[in-house]
């Protein structure tokens, strides 16, 4: 499955390269089209972009990470995405917070720049109010999910349990 995804993505990228038609674009696109891989940095291939999604409640002192929360006590849901192996350049993260069942509840974009000298790591943090919102007032409980995409490619998904 990973390999299939990778091939598809590379085809798309080569299309862009052909259409662009310049050496500069070619270099940029090769860099931008790397896909996740489970094999790490072998054979000179740059390591795959990875994202680690974590959650906490900013109503709890020091906002400890957890994956299950109660809608009756949660103040704000904080979603932290730690990006690794991101190639140098401009990037746009899309964070989707999905209702149980899969419909979009919130979709946010965050842009960031990875400099050429960077290790390719970057962290984003988004806060979604819960207390006093329909999540708590209408008791929208169950398995929510959070999807993190970078530059249009889905990189990671994480389940978030909200209970009574």
């Amino acid at each position: 499955m990973y390999w299939r995804t990778q091939v598809t993505q590379r085809s798309a990228c080569w299309t862009k390269l052909l259409l662009g038609g310049t050496a500069a674009l070619l270099l940029f696109a090769v860099s931008a089209c790397q896909m996740p891989s489970t094999s790490g940095n072998r054979g000179g291939r740059p390591p795959a972009v990875a994202a680690l999604i974590s959650f906490c409640d900013d109503g709890v002192a020091s906002c400890p990470s957890a994956s299950s929360f109660s809608v009756t006590s949660m103040r704000d849901l904080v979603v932290i995405i730690n990006w690794e192996n991101v190639p140098a350049g401009n990037h746009a993260e899309v964070l989707e917070l999905l209702l149980p069942g899969g419909a979009d509840y919130r979709v946010t974009q965050t842009a960031f720049l990875i400099s050429g000298s960077s290790s390719g790591s970057f962290s984003t943090r988004r806060t979604f109010p819960v207390s006093g919102t329909p999540i708590s007032q209408r008791r929208i409980t169950g398995n929510w999910s959070v999807r993190a995409s970078l530059d249009g490619q889905l990189i990671a998904t994480q389940i978030l349990e909200l209970s009574q």
Binding site: L25, A103, D104
Partner: protein, 770 residues
Amino acid sequence: MSRELGKSQIACTSRHVSPAIVAVLLGSSLAMPLLARETITITANSSQPRAADATINQASPNNNFTGNPTLTVESRNANGNQRALIQFDLSILPNVGIKAATVTLEVTSTNASNANTRTYGAYAIASYFHQPDVTWNTRVANLPWGAAGGDIGGAATGTAVVSGTGPAQFTLTSDFQKYYNGSPNYGTLIRDQAEDANNGGVGFTTTFGSIEGASANAPELALTFVQNVRNLTATPGNASVTLNWVIPSPIGVVNPGEPYKGVVILRRKGLPVDKGSLPTDTVDPRAGHAPGSCVSVGNGQVVFDDFSGAQTFTDNAANDPCGAPANGTAYFYKVFLRDAANYYSDQPVGNGSTYTEEIEAMPNTTAATQEHAVWVNATFSTDLAAPSLFPASVVVVGSGTNLLFGIDPNTGLRKYPPISLGGPVDSRSPIIDAADSSLSANVIYVADNDGLVYAVATDTGQVRWVVNPTGATATNNFTGSTSVQLKSLSGPTFTPINDLVVIGTHDGATTTGNQIVGLDGNNGTNVWTLTGNSGGIPPLDIITSTPLIDYVNGAIWVTSHSACGNTQPSLWKLSPNSPGSVLFSAALGDMDVSPSLTFLSDVLFVANGGYTRNAGVCSVGNSTLFAINPVNGVTLATFTPAVADGAIVGFPLVLGFNSPYTIVYSAAANVHIVQFDKSLNKFTSLFTIPIKAPSAPIGDSNLSKVYVGSSDGFIHEIDVPTGKDDFDMYVNTINVGSPAIIGEVSLDLGLSRVYIATTDQRSYGFAIPF
């Protein structure tokens, strides 16, 4: 080469040559040339309210460069790069499916040449920016870009090679299809693909015609599209549903030989046809199937496949190859307009098409049991706040995808393409009509999770002004709505010179330092700010509610959390006048509920959430409803139901013109109707109506009914005098997150309709009484 000739060639290339080139480059066969029904070219100009452009300059990173006759894109080392931002006003095309989009910029000067060509890339901007403020470093006021130089991601969507003056063309079809498919449209950024060039110390500089320059050189956008049908209605009968629609007149240049020929209608039982179920362009969905057979497209059944230009269809046993609609079951219909080449009114993109016209009806044996929506409008995101409303004029629906939808309440059609904001909108925003507004304009004041406050013209979707009212860059996180004190309705003690917009912050990182701000409604400038634990103001926790304007008592009422205790204030009475002051505060426990006043403003009703702290965790409990004397803040009476029912939702609805007042409120599992007698300062419980996770109720003192959204997929119509759950209007059942959660209801007494949004990512209009 004249510009006109150049543009002509561009149009030809875009529509007939480019696909072939792509096919050759890909080494694959694109058998069908890109044909479509209509094409229109939008030339940006300064009279278009939603058009914008600017240059951002790395060498002057804090300066705004707008209003110039040209846009500059420069590649230059030593922090000398420049980039251009362009946004087109798409208002002329609110209800279309995009098939192709090409942006043409006129190069008015360049030091590129045949020997030194430059490749420029076009990128979809990823964050909201405001033209009058935007700089290399910041996008709105003091809010920085995520990355200096503009927020973009990945590779350019389209590129153009420049070697001299003349047109430069960018094919941006996928970007514009996304804008018409639920993604925010923050415009396009143009930059050199190889920045930081030296070139003898002068770099490479190209100027393009701008919106403010000569119209012959202004940015152009050529869009090829298929319109949606208009005025779609559904009338249920006995085992039948009759649909009517109007095939629109062309608004662009018609592609020769491709008139609109008819429609394809998909039907689904119980819930909407999902966005991924759409006919494939150039293909008739019934082609190759036996006559009379039932054909499906995704999860929709093809119940009508017409080439005759019909504008009506009755779905019944005689006409429908998939069978008559069953009585007592709701059906959703999605109507795709098609042209002669079988291009449909949708976005042919991988994640499906959201904005094709839909409608819903439930047939049954008698007229009294037949149900139907007046309109359905897909918003692609969940927002359970009541739609904003100016009766019979406009409905505005927020979203969790940073979009604001302006909808014609008569037809359900978008009045203009969605307005892209900086963040999600959680609440119902106030709409002020021009006759009352100090702006003399129809305007909605919106606060978003991005921490910005906007004044948006509801006629055009233009952002009149936007401010970051506290200066914070990450912590406003507005959850409640703004309230507006109208100058025209205020007495002489109201001293602000214009309408006053009031909003409270939701900074979850502090329980004491939140803020309430008053803004000038005409321009967003700060009138006053109250900050918790500062300047003598008591500590102020998060605000999730909407302030209440009290014209009679000359005050603004705000509720807040109180750090999960009963010592910190949670009810605030404020002066509207500069410099802002706290007239009164009370510690009544954490409050999420907005306050309500009686018609005479002689009693204020608020409720806490019954929050308690156990083992360090603060949890919501059972509400207490308070009746407050709004003059002196004295608590007149309290009420809790005999059987605990959790926290009150939204706000208490107050009905009646005189005491005893009727208060209707929703809690965890019931809608409660209680009476408050001011002469006795006493609450009396009248009715408790079980409804699953109800929304806040809406009603009017001149009506006997109130309306409540539920988590069971229905809108409940409650008869207040009897406490009967009269009639439940079916919205949908199964849905993602089964069944759909119905949001708060808006009541349009002008058209006798209610409007709701649901977790099925749609908004609906229904006629009342049910």
